[in-house]
Symmetry: D2
Subunit: 117 residues, 4 copies
Amino acid sequence: MANSDLESLRDALREFAHQRDWDKFHTPKNLAAALSVEAAELLEHFQWLTPEQSAELTSEAQAGVREELADVLLYLIRLADKLDVDLIEAAQAKLAINARKYPADKARGNARKYSEL
Amino acid sequence: MANSDLESLRDALREFAHQRDWDKFHTPKNLAAALSVEAAELLEHFQWLTPEQSAELTSEAQAGVREELADVLLYLIRLADKLDVDLIEAAQAKLAINARKYPADKARGNARKYSEL
Amino acid sequence: MANSDLESLRDALREFAHQRDWDKFHTPKNLAAALSVEAAELLEHFQWLTPEQSAELTSEAQAGVREELADVLLYLIRLADKLDVDLIEAAQAKLAINARKYPADKARGNARKYSEL
Amino acid sequence: MANSDLESLRDALREFAHQRDWDKFHTPKNLAAALSVEAAELLEHFQWLTPEQSAELTSEAQAGVREELADVLLYLIRLADKLDVDLIEAAQAKLAINARKYPADKARGNARKYSEL
């Protein structure tokens, strides 16, 4: 039976850390800090852009952004692994919570009212 | 052919935003900011913990952390969708880059030398 | 001789931590994480706003933003104190570096070229 | 009458932006994002260190950290200027709030109970 894509990445990251003896650095606290740093590096690409420019990246910016998106996903998978969290199940559960929290008819077009996806 | 888990979440997020007329808020710039904010909320759970405590969360903290991990994944999927980036392909490509950048024999046990997974 | 405002705040924060026996939590690492979390809470106020809205905050948002600006300054002072860094001198030195890095005649009106103040 | 150190830096930053025609990029939203990015660059120096290592930086790390502390202060001053917030007054007010929120006798030595300085 084939593993899912996320499980394959999780296993590759385990092996990657093991081969380099980096498990000792990968405490949940350190990984959460690293994830936050990567998310900021992603944001850095957008910080001076207008909303319109942010939707039409140059190909150079697009390549940089793609790498940062990848870094965020890799640390996210690694941290979830260390904490025994199933990311897909957690995301599905959170989406269900958000659907109740922001009923479509009341939240319609209103940015002030929400702080979640 | 069945969609993957990430594609299912992507489609659910599209529908979620469409029903609430939130696409106008979901510029890449805004989503990158929101992703960064969620990553910081995740970090907040760990900020005062010792490395050891961060590996043994209380069940209350674990539940909060699980929700923040989910939020990060949801914004990550949404942002990647807006930028037409395949997250899995991007992560696999980045992992290959990292493997060349940090050869296992040289990187062994050395935290000072690396800043990536 | 009167202390400067920043030195007074530094001393007040020392006393604050001492009275609560919080020095043990205030490692530079923890304070850097806390500072980053506060900066994200500040950003959260702006994440869905248009550039124009961000320049005309509601009085409620303005009050919230003021508190987050204060939190960032307080953690910044505390961290600089723990690291024996004089913030004013460091900022003056950095500004001089930036002036050389971004000559006014070349940097004029160009956001793509710079990533600093 | 002499300006305070923070006011001098504020004025220097105004002049710096004016000479480069950068005011158009310095919306509060953009400055809040930039501040958050700088705070993450500061955190990056500490992410893999033990608590003990974070209190004994190498001189190279110390120099890098000093520059990041400066960047955070510079963006903080610039953002507060754009929002007409007096940073010192805001910090003094917040410290008074925190003193009421975390009474010394109850907060003593307890990290779980607090999330502020």
